[in-house]
C-alpha cells in the first residue's frame, strides 16, 4: 500500500509531533482538531518547533515552508476519507477514544488503516466499537517523535495480518523508523517499563534516599539515559505519567503501578512539567532547563 496522505486526529503534544514528523518525511498530513483555537495553537507550536530546528541548523527556512505546506488543518473527520492511514492521538481517556474510533470507522474509506497512538488502553476494546476491527491497529510513537526512531506496532485481537504488514511497511520503509511488534497489553513495552522506572524513582525520593537532581544524574550518567527519571517525567507531562500508571494499576491490579503520592499531589497543584514551566525542575518557554 502506498501511503501519501495521513490523517492525524488531535493536535496535542503527540499529534503535533507526529504531524510534523510525517510532513518532514514528505507526506501530506490532514490535521484535525475540534476548535479553531486548538488548531491554530497546534500549527503555531509546530512552526515554533521547526524554528527551533533551524536554530540548530537542522533545517533551512525553505524546508520549513515545505513542511508547513504539507500540513492541512481541518475540523471534520469526514475530510479524512481520502487518507490511506489515520492516526488518532487524542487524550488517553477510554470514552473519548471510543467515540473517535466510531466516527473514524464511519468516515474512513474502506481500505484505510485506522491507528491509535494509545499507550495504555486496550486496542481490542477500541476496535470493538468499529464495523471493521481487522483494520484497527496501534501505532505508539514516543515523544519527541522526530527524534525517537522507534514505534510500537500494537496488534489487537482482531487486527489482520495484512493491516499489520502494511503498517510495518509504512513504519520501516516510508517513515524509516524501527517498528517493534507488540501484542496488546497495558503499557506495551515502553510505557510499562518507563513508568515503573519513574514511579520507583519517586519512591526513592519520598524515602529521602537522594535528591531529584542526584537521582537524575545517577541514572543519566550511570546508565546512559538521555534524561534522568524526573526530567523525563517533566517532559512526558506529570499528568500523562499519572494517567498511564493509573490505567496499568487498574488493569494489572499490582501495587507497583500505583502512582506515587508526590506525583498525584503535583498534578493536583497543576505542576505538570515542561508544558507548565515547572515540574520537578523549571523550564523556559523553549522547554530548556533553567
Amino acid at each position: 500500500m502506498a501511503v501519501r496522505k495521513v490523517g492525524v486526529v488531535g493536535a496535542g503534544t503527540m499529534g503535533r509531533g507526529i504531524a510534523e514528523m510525517l510532513a518532514f518525511k514528505g507526506l501530506d498530513v490532514l490535521l484535525v482538531e475540534k476548535t479553531e483555537s486548538n488548531l491554530e495553537l497546534g500549527l503555531a507550536t509546530i512552526a515554533q518547533s521547526l524554528d527551533k530546528q533551524i536554530d540548530k541548523w537542522a533545517l533551512t527556512q525553505a524546508e520549513k515552508k515545505l513542511v508547513l505546506n504539507r500540513i492541512h488543518p481541518t475540523h471534520t473527520l469526514d475530510e479524512l476519507a481520502e487518507c490511506e492511514l489515520i492516526i488518532e492521538t487524542i487524550t488517553e481517556e477510554l470514552e473519548a477514544k471510543l467515540a473517535v474510533m466510531r466516527e473514524l470507522d464511519r468516515a474512513a474509506g474502506a481500505e484505510t488503516i485506522i491507528a491509535s497512538n494509545t499507550s495504555t488502553l486496550s486496542l481490542t476494546e477500541l476496535a470493538s466499537v468499529t464495523e471493521h476491527p481487522q483494520r484497527v491497529i496501534g501505532l505508539h510513537f514516543i515523544h519527541p517523535v522526530s527524534h525517537i526512531d522507534l514505534v510500537e506496532i500494537v496488534r489487537g485481537l482482531k487486527t489482520s495480518e495484512s493491516t499489520f504488514d502494511a503498517t510495518k511497511h509504512f513504519v520501516e520503509k516510508i517513515i524509516h523508523k524501527k517498528g517493534i511488534m507488540v501484542f496488546e497489553s497495558p503499557g506495551f513495552v515502553t510505557t510499562r517499563l518507563i513508568c515503573l522506572h519513574i514511579n520507583e524513582a519517586l519512591k526513592v525520593l519520598e524515602e529521602g534516599v537522594a535528591s531529584e537532581e542526584d537521582i537524575d544524574s545517577a541514572m543519566r550518567m550511570g546508565y546512559s539515559f538521555k534524561y534522568g527519571p524526573f526530567e523525563m517525567c517533566d517532559r512526558f507531562g506529570l499528568d500523562a505519567v499519572q494517567a498511564a500508571l493509573e490505567n496499568m494499576f487498574h488493569e494489572y491490579g499490582e501495587l507497583k503501578y500505583r502512582p506515587s503520592i508526590v506525583l498525584k499531589k503535583m498534578v493536583r497543584a497543576g505542576q505538570l512539567g515542561v508544558k507548565t514551566g515547572a515540574g520537578f525542575f523549571n523550564y523556559d518557554k523553549d522547554g530548556d532547563r533553567i
Binding site: 501519501r4 514528505g26 540548530k56 541548523w57 537542522a58 533551512t60
Partner: protein
C-alpha cells in the same frame, strides 16, 4: 543516432534528446514533483515556444513514459515515434571504486550501483529508479551509465587515501572519490582543443565553480587530485557547504550546542559556506550585488571563497610541478568575471596574467582570457555534462554493435 540523456533525482528528472549526427540537442526538459498530484513536465525545443503540462505523476516509470510521449508528440514532439530513441545515457553520481569509466547497463552493473547506495544515499537510489523506469518503457534499448566519480579514479593512492586507520578503508571504502568528474573531463578535452595542444602534454587545473564547487589537477589528461572527497562536502567553500575544516569542529560543536549527527550534517551542508559568512545568500550574484553596495559580510564571504580557491590552485601547481592552463567552468566560473579576476590576482608568481578586456567579455563560447605574455593560459570553458554523457553512450553502443556483428561473422565462418 538519437540518444536520450537522463539525470534522475528522487522527485525530479531532467532530460535531453541528442541527435548524434551533429551532436545537436533536439529537445530538453524536465519532470518535477514526481510522486505528487501536480507534477510538472516542461519541454524546450529550439525555435519553438516552451511546453508545460501539469498532471499526476506518481513514479519514475510514469515520468519516463510522459517524457517519451512529449518528445514523440504529434504536435509538440521532435521525433516520429519513440522507437527512434536508440540509446539512453544516465548520469550516476557515485561509481565507487568499481566504475572507472562509463559502462553499458546489465544485471551486474545494476547490482553494483545498488551496492553503492550507502555511499550516495540521496543520489544513487534515484538514478536506479531512472534506469528501471527506462527499462520498463523502452525494453531492449541499450542504456549506459556515466559516473561523476569515474574520471577521478586515476588518482594515486597518496591522493585518495585519508590518513586515518586503514581498516576504515578496507571495511567501508572510506577514501577520497571526487565529484563533477564528467565536467572536469569535458572541459579538459575542450581546453586542449582550444589551446591546440595534445592533452597528454598539458598540466591543467580545472575549477568547476557552481552551486557545488571543486577543483581538479589534471596532468596529461588524467585526474591526479581533486578537492572533493568521500562526499561533496570536502574542499572548496561553496554556496551552503563549508568545504575543508578541522574535523574536530564536528564533535566540539555537537557537544557545545547539543547537536545530533543529522543536525551537524545539515549545518555543514546547508547552513555554511557563502550563506553562513554573508548572512545573506548562497548565490554568488547576490553576494556580488551586496558587495557593490558596501556590505562588509558579503565582501568577507567573497574574499574567503576566493582565498580558499586560490590555495587549491597553489597546491595543485605543487602537486603537478607546474601548470600550463587554468580553466574556469560552471555557473560562477563561467559568469563571474570579478571572481576570476580576484582569484588570478595573487597568482602572478606563477606567471598568471589576465587580459581584463577578454575577462570582462560576456559570451557563451569557450575562450582564453589571459594576456599574450601570461605563462599560464587562463580559459573559460562552458561545461556540458549532458553532451559528454551522450558521447560516451554513443561510443559504448556503437562499440557493442560492431563487436556483436564481428561475433556474428565469426559465427558464420565456423
Amino acid at each position: 543516432m538519437k540518444i536520450l540523456v537522463i539525470n534522475a533525482g528522487s522527485s525530479s528528472l531532467k532530460y535531453q534528446l541528442y541527435d548524434m549526427t551533429a551532436e545537436t540537442v533536439l529537445a530538453s526538459g524536465s519532470v518535477e514533483r514526481i510522486g505528487m498530484e501536480t507534477s510538472i513536465v516542461t519541454q524546450a525545443v529550439p525555435g519553438r515556444p516552451d511546453m508545460r503540462e501539469v498532471s499526476e505523476i506518481l513514479d519514475h516509470v510514469t515520468a519516463v513514459k510522459r517524457l517519451l510521449d512529449m518528445i514523440a508528440h504529434p504536435e509538440y514532439g521532435v521525433i516520429e515515434s519513440i522507437a527512434e530513441v536508440q540509446a539512453v545515457g544516465h548520469r550516476v553520481v557515485h561509481g565507487g571504486e568499481v566504475f572507472k569509466q562509463s559502462v553499458l547497463v546489465d544485471e551486474t552493473v545494476k547490482l553494483e550501483i545498488r551496492q553503492l547506495f550507502d555511499l550516495a544515499p540521496l543520489h544513487n537510489p534515484a538514478h536506479m529508479m531512472g534506469i528501471t523506469a527506462v527499462e520498463t518503457n523502452l525494453p531492449g534499448v541499450p542504456q549506459a551509465v556515466v559516473f561523476d566519480t569515474a574520471f577521478h579514479q586515476t588518482m594515486p593512492e597518496v591522493a585518495y587515501l585519508y590518513p586515518i586507520p586503514k581498516v576504515l578503508y578496507r571495511r567501508h571504502k572510506i577514501r577520497r572519490y571526487g565529484f563533477h568528474g564528467t565536467s572536469h573531463h569535458y572541459v579538459s578535452d575542450q581546453a586542449a582543443e582550444l589551446l591546440g595542444r595534445p592533452l597528454d602534454e598539458l598540466k591543467m587545473i580545472s575549477c568547476h565553480i557552481g552551486n557545488g564547487a571543486s577543483c581538479t589537477a589534471i596532468q596529461h589528461g588524467v585526474s591526479v587530485d581533486t578537492s572533493m572527497g568521500l562526499t561533496p562536502l570536502e574542499g572548496l567553500m561553496m554556496g551552503t557547504r563549508s568545504g575543508d575544516l578541522d574535523p574536530a569542529i564536528v564533535p566540539f560543536t555537537m557537544n557545545k550546542e547539543d547537536l545530533t549527527l543529522s543536525d551537524v550534517n545539515s549545518m555543514l551542508n546547508k547552513h555554511s559556506g557563502l550563506v553562513a559568512i554573508s548572512g545573506l545568500s548562497s548565490d554568488m550574484r547576490e553576494i556580488e550585488e551586496a558587495m557593490a553596495e558596501g556590505d562588509r559580510n558579503a565582501r568577507l564571504a567573497f574574499d574567503m571563497y576566493v582565498y580558499r580557491l586560490r590555495k587549491y590552485i597553489g597546491a595543485y601547481t605543487a602537486v603537478m610541478d607546474g601548470v600550463d592552463a587554468l580553466v574556469f567552468t560552471a555557473g560562477i566560473g563561467e559568469n563571474s568575471s570579478s571572481l576570476r579576476a580576484e582569484v588570478c590576482k595573487n597568482l602572478s608568481y606563477l606567471g598568471v596574467k589576465l587580459d581584463d578586456a577578454k575577462n570582462g567579455m560576456r559570451t557563451k563560447k569557450p575562450r582564453e582570457i589571459s594576456a599574450p605574455d601570461s605563462r599560464v593560459r587562463v580559459l573559460v570553458i562552458p561545461t556540458n555534462e549532458e553532451l559528454l554523457i551522450a558521447r560516451d553512450t554513443y561510443k559504448l553502443v556503437t562499440e557493442q554493435a560492431s563487436s556483436l556483428s564481428g561475433q556474428r561473422e565469426e559465427g558464420t565462418d565456423a
